[in-house]
Amino acid sequence: MTAISDREQLAYLAAQAADARVNVELESEGMTLNIGPQHPATHGTLRIVAKLDGEQVLSADPVMGYMHRGYEKLAEVRTYPQVTTLINRIDWVGSFANEVPFILAAEKLMDVEAPPRAQWIRTILFEMSRIANITLFLGDMGLQVGAVTPAFFAFRDREHVLNQIEAATGGRFHPNFDRIGGLKDDLPAGWITETRRVMKKMRSFCDEMEQLVQGNEIFEARTRGIGVIPADVGLSYGLSGANIRASGVDWDVRRDNPCGMVHNELDWKVWTHPDGDSFARFWVRLQEVRESTKMVDQMLDGLPSGPIMAKVPRIIKVPAGEAYVETENPLGVMGYYVVSKGDLTPFRVKIRSASFNNISIAPWLLKGVYVPDIVTILGSLYFILGDIDR
């Protein structure tokens, strides 16, 4: 009797052991996939360490700093007018917008205000750099989900905007045009008519993107419900710009906290979307470009005359004090915290760039998604590497 039960027990144990062995064999060990630093989807040198189980992401950590250029430190050994040359290169596709908050902070410290015409032109260029920047996104988002052609259309039409920026400032990518107390130059002759034409073209580009990308069933299938950011999570990660507006948060610094620019004198609308997914982020940005072209048109109509430079000393010494100014840049809220000790150079500059916060949600967002969705989500968060690493 005991022998039989022993045998039964042995058989039971053997079966258990066999089961355990099978389980061990079936359990595949995870794979660590390094997406980047050199990878077509990362716009530069972002690295994402993704731990995968098959194609599912267990955890994903963005590793940044491959392109850190130390602008905050470099700014400390440069005079105020020289700093714009550097900070221009933070978000290199919307570079004029980078200069504005820094200049505004310096103006705030010096208690100077740019004359109205300078403020209007500044706002025009600010919005045009937004158009140039987001146009790139609209094409690039197609590229991320596999459609090559929209990217070419985006580059083609962005060129018109860049040409206008170049005509006004002399620099396609790095204008370095904003000055403390105004602007370097007035607009060239014929610029206004030409810009009106370009804005019309950009609106038809938006229509084209709406049909070609946003209206495509496959694009919708790839982006709807992918990478959903609830509003409270997004806010707690410090998201800003279109990323948070796509989650239904009605927050736009241009409207809520205007500083040194003339957005509040214009008739425009802040677009939000309730869904918070990748599609919503694309949609909100598309509406934003359209809104910006309308703003530029209005500003061209109402452009005041007058000087473009306030009275500022030739050698700029900023009085001691500290100032923080933030503006609604193409990628989100960008702020400069400038501390001055009354010297020719700033004592300390802290740059709050939008992409750094926007990408910080990636580990939370990428957990549990599939490998193809990594690219969709990162593409829809829309970061520029220079804006992350500074």
Partner: protein, 346 residues
């Protein structure tokens, strides 16, 4: 075959065979080159508001030679941990499947490579050889991107082989033969409600099968919207990531040559193959005109392939599997049933 008469009658077997081998090489490589130039270089450039190559030769027509020369000069890099034999052999396996495919495609009454009674069956069988090559490339590269790409490709190619074959079955039922020449002749001698002027291209009756075949073909070729295995924005270039120089070129040729050959098969099955309405299909003239007609139809069909490729975003892996199993296969099965019923009824 008896009709191998006037043109090739005086030649002995080995001479005929060498002509056929030479013609097969030309059919694959020349057609692939034409497609790359016409579609990839030029057509797509015009779609994307650019000019494409303009410097090498008239309108950049010799650009292809420059590209091939460039690839031939490049270093043949093996990853350190690669399985050298498997890695090296993979492109040849992929290209082999293309050459095996082309043998069943007829170009005229005598312009055929192999006139098998099981022509289309053979084609469907050898087309799956490329899966092995792709899996070899994915595994042998010892790269994670390649592995993911290779596995995705395998899953996709196997899934889409089914709708492809099921779509072909409708044509086979209607033509009552698997012989490719027989399918062409059945279309050439067919009638549309008693009107025999243009024959009866099966596009008219098998349009559902044609649609399914085109979609499945796009997937078999791993072209966008089914290019998840390549997915250059996520997997760099999937299973081709580690390849360089000559071996990459082989993959490249394989991709476009297979596009041409699959289009040729689609042209035979649905567009009537090489026959021209009004000319007697047994006429010796068709041995010259037939291949040209085929090339014309191939260009039209590959135009569709590249048009889709450069317009659509890509499906996700699960979405494309769902498309195959939940939509294409039921549609193709329904098509077979309907074709069978109509065949018996009429």
């Amino acid at each position: 075959m008896m009709s191998a008469s006037l043109l090739l009658a005086e030649l002995s077997y080995w001479q005929q065979t060498s002509i056929r081998v030479g013609a097969g090489l030309a059919a694959v490589l020349l057609v692939a080159g034409t497609l790359v130039y016409l579609h990839l270089f030029k057509l797509v450039s015009f779609m994307q508001s650019r000019l494409g190559p303009m410097e090498a030769g008239p309108f950049g027509s010799l650009q292809l030679l420059a590209e091939v020369g460039k690839f031939l000069q490049k270093e043949d890099i093996f990853p350190r941990k690669a399985d050298r034999f498997v890695f090296a052999a993979a492109p040849f396996v992929v290209l082999m499947s293309t050459f095996l495919l082309v043998v069943v495609v007829p170009g005229g009454p005598d312009a055929w490579f192999v006139d098998s009674e099981l022509g289309i069956y053979l084609a469907m069988a050898v087309s799956s050889v490329s899966v092995i090559g792709i899996l070899m490339a994915g595994w042998g590269s010892a790269s994670k991107y390649s592995l993911l790409g290779g596995l995705r490709a395998t899953g996709q190619l196997i899934a889409y082989e089914l709708p492809l074959i099921l779509a072909v079955l409708g044509v086979v039922i209607q033509a009552e033969t698997m012989n490719m020449q027989g399918i062409v002749m059945a279309q050439a001698e067919g009638e549309i409600f008693g009107f025999g002027g243009i024959g009866n291209p099966y596009l008219l009756t098998q349009f559902v099968a044609f649609g399914v075949f085109l979609i499945a073909m796009q997937a078999e070729l791993t072209q966008t919207p089914f290019d998840m295995p390549i997915a250059e924005s996520e997997l760099v270039t999937g299973y081709m990531t580690e390849y360089s120089g000559m071996r990459f070129l082989l993959f490249f040729i394989g991709e476009f040559a297979t596009a041409g050959v699959f289009s040729a098969i689609a042209a035979v099955l649905f567009l009537g193959g090489w026959y021209i309405p009004g000319i007697d299909p047994a006429d010796n003239l068709m041995n010259i005109l037939g291949p040209l007609v085929m090339v014309g139809k191939i260009v039209v069909l590959t135009f569709l392939i590249f048009w889709f490729r450069f317009t659509f975003p890509r499906f996700r892996e699960d979405q494309l599997q769902r498309l195959a199993w939940k939509f294409l296969i039921p549609i193709a099965l329904t098509n077979i049933v309907v074709t069978g019923i109509l065949k018996v009824a009429f």
